[in-house]
């Protein structure tokens, strides 16, 4: 970027492109590197980039500034992925003789399958899933092994245990990461509830004994629904890059698009899939055939809703100019997407009292 040139939010996509074609970075100027390092840190893609360049032996051919920061992030990633593996090993021992399936989710699942998108990640917690009927047993075993729930008031406990798809994050004194124990991939009372039985019926083995993963198509749908049903979508480009990586890995080789569309319909996640496919095709050049995009939109994303959502997502998912604060348009877009998240997560009769309570807590805590 030349000084004074307007910032283009699409600039952050250069890093995602470099994951596909690493040698392209050899042509980056020092100004481009400076910008890309800052953007990649924000989108949590710096470790992924470092891993991709390191694997191609390109890091030593780069200028000193990127070389140092890529090496630094590579070490951070190695440390965190090792911590995740170790933490899972501990949890695995606790649940070793349980009679129900134990399922890796998200980063743990990618790592546990050795997927390309696992390289250079910076996992911050451990996500696993067990059947809802087994939650009590799993919690009992984990509790006996020293995992503790945070101190929550009655309302927050109820929020987690009755209205959420996971229990409160568990901590262990000798494990660096929090453990998120799920029984579903969507909140049970949300507007797009998912029948966990359908997920459990198609589990696959992982590389790690005792641990299974969701069916590849379900992993794709979980990634999309997790992204588009979250309250904070700022700079979440990495989730789209994950989606792109899994589509290229699981669907593109066999052109298995009809099965993916079917599964999305079956799980009630057609809207998330349509949004994911649209943005991946547009930003990351994921090879999604145009008729598939049309079918995905026809199944879950009417034109009016697409027209509302895409500009908001574009404003929030891609980072703004790192030299400036957020534009008001981006802040408003973030608020609107947060409102959508709340609206989808709980029915109104529960949502209104919940928000009222949170508002009261916030004013009691004083301004942040």
């Amino acid at each position: 970027m030349t000084p004074g040139a307007a910032y283009d939010p699409q600039a952050a996509l250069a890093c995602a492109t470099a994951l596909q074609r690493p040698e392209g970075v050899l042509g980056w100027s020092s100004a481009q590197w400076s910008l890309q390092l800052r953007l990649a840190r924000r989108t949590r893609l710096l470790g992924r980039l470092a891993h991709a360049l390191h694997a191609q032996g390109l890091v030593d051919r780069l200028p000193a500034l990127p070389r140092r920061h890529l090496l630094s992030e590579l070490r951070a990633s190695h440390w965190r992925t090792t911590a995740l593996r170790w933490g899972l090993d501990r949890v695995g021992r606790v649940l070793a003789d349980a009679a129900y399936p134990r399922v890796l989710l998200k980063g743990a699942a990618y790592q546990g399958q050795g997927l390309p998108i696992a390289g250079g990640r910076l996992p911050s917690d451990i996500d696993i899933l067990v059947p809802r009927a087994a939650l009590g047993d799993a919690l009992g075993r984990l509790g006996a092994a020293g995992w503790t729930e945070p101190d929550l008031d009655e309302h927050d406990r109820r929020y987690y245990h009755e209205w959420s798809h996971e229990v409160p994050p568990l901590r262990h004194p000798s494990v660096r990461m929090e453990l998120d124990l799920h029984h579903n991939i969507q909140p049970p009372l949300s507007r797009h509830p998912v029948d966990a039985g359908l997920l459990l019926a198609r589990l696959q083995p992982s590389l790690w004994p005792g641990w299974q993963v969701l069916h590849p198509l379900d992993q794709i749908l979980h990634c999309a629904s997790h992204l588009f049903h979250d309250g904070d979508l700022h700079d979440r480009l990495r989730d789209l890059v994950d989606l792109d990586g899994m589509l290229r890995c699981f669907v593109v080789p066999q052109a298995d698009w009809p099965a993916l569309l079917d599964r999305a319909r079956q799980l009630g996640l057609a809207e998330s899939l349509a949004l994911g496919l649209l943005l991946c095709a547009r930003w990351l050049a994921t090879p999604v055939p145009p008729p598939v995009l049309d079918q995905a939109c026809a199944a879950g994303l009417p034109a009016w809703r697409r027209a509302c959502l895409l500009p908001l997502l574009r404003a929030v998912l891609l980072p703004g100019d790192p030299d400036e604060g957020d534009a008001w348009t981006r802040r408003v877009a973030g608020q609107l997407l947060l409102a959508r998240y709340q609206w989808q997560r709980l029915p109104l009769r529960l949502l209104l009292p919940h928000l009222w309570r949170k508002l009261g807590q916030r004013s009691a805590d004083g301004p942040a």
Binding site: P3, S30, A31, W33, S34, R38, R41, R42, L65, R68, H69, L71, S72, E73, R75, A76, H78, W79, T82, P319, G320, D321, P322, D323, E324, G325, D326
Partner: protein, 319 residues
């Protein structure tokens, strides 16, 4: 040959303020480059006072490891108990500070970023000074007076490398300077002021989380040599004890290893590299615990023993 750039102290305050408000200033602190911008009224003056010997390098964002912006808080906070906030690549990870205290926020924020981002180096939590080409490390223990002793040494002929980061390059084993103003707390401020008339200490900030804080400006010699690392030869664990005579207690390599590694910012993160680097340090350095109450006496004893130590002739003050 072009003339070297002027130092910040030689530039008009107005120009510093203008640069901060537009393309920013580059502060090359040795092993890191900081790019600072901001519209905070007090920033130019405070920064100019404690980075006075650093070269004037306006712009330069492309070369920086860390980019920070300090600006006035907006909205109500512009008028009512005004505040200054720190923006890092578009985000605000920290609570605001009072508007008249941008420097402590800058220092705290930059140290936090350095501690997280420079994992190419083993970052010990230690003061570091150099003399006769060799480095002395002063690992931090809570209340140890690491900053006081580091500052005092820097005013008695030792070259300041850092008061916060013992930055060891795992490939060369050298301690690289991360030369920033020394943060002095409470009573230390007057102790250091009394030690040398050459001490340049910036404004005092009362009521921070650590009490009153003021910063000792690194001198011209330390700034000129901030690109030059030094071979570590000794580790001193300081402990100030009221009324105690100066006392040197030998510390075993394994104790030195614990003091270095387990206080470090990124020892765990570096994994095997961190272990090997800390091990090499603990094996090659002589280590003592220094208990003292009379700073002058402690400094004099350290001065006496240092040449022999650098030459490898002695292994401690009592040897």
């Amino acid at each position: 040959m072009t003339a070297p750039p002027p130092s910040l102290a030689e530039v008009e305050l107005r120009d510093v303020r203008r640069a901060l408000a537009s393309s920013g200033l580059l502060l090359d602190v040795g092993a890191a480059r900081l790019h600072v911008r901001g519209d905070s009224q007090a920033l130019a003056r405070q920064l100019g006072a404690v980075y006075r010997c650093f070269p004037w390098q306006p712009g330069g964002g492309e070369a920086a490891d860390v980019h920070v912006v300090l600006h006035q808080a907006r909205g109500l906070r512009r008028w009512w108990r005004p505040q200054v906030v720190l923006r890092i690549d578009g985000a605000y990870p920290f609570e605001p500070f009072p508007a008249d205290s941008p420097l402590p926020l800058l220092e705290w924020g930059c140290n936090w970023l350095i501690g997280r981002r420079l994992n190419d180096l083993l970052l010990l939590h230690a003061g570091a000074v150099e003399r006769d080409g060799a480095a002395l490390l002063l690992p931090a223990m809570p209340g140890s007076g690491k900053s006081t002793l580091t500052a005092a040494l820097s005013l008695r002929g030792w070259r300041l490398l850092s008061d916060e980061f013992g930055a060891v390059d795992p490939t060369t084993g050298l301690v690289q300077p991360l030369l920033k103003p020394v943060a002095l707390k409470n009573a230390s401020i007057e102790v250091i002021r009394g030690l040398s008339r050459e001490a340049v200490i910036g404004p005092a900030f009362p009521k921070t989380r650590k009490g009153t804080v003021a910063h000792l400006a690194p001198d011209a010699r330390a700034v000129a040599a901030r690109g030059i690392g030094a071979r570590p030869v000794a580790v001193v664990l300081p402990r100030w004890e009221r009324g105690s005579p100066t006392r040197w207690e030998p510390v075993s390599p394994s104790q030195a290893f614990s003091a270095l590694a387990f206080n470090a910012f990124n020892y765990n993160l570096l994994g095997e590299v961190g272990f090997r680097t800390a091990l090499r340090l603990a094996r090659r350095c002589t280590a003592w615990r220094l208990v003292y109450s009379d700073l002058d006496d402690a400094l004099a004893q350290l001065d006496r023993v240092w040449p022999g130590l650098v030459a490898g002739a002695v292994h401690g003050p009592q040897a």
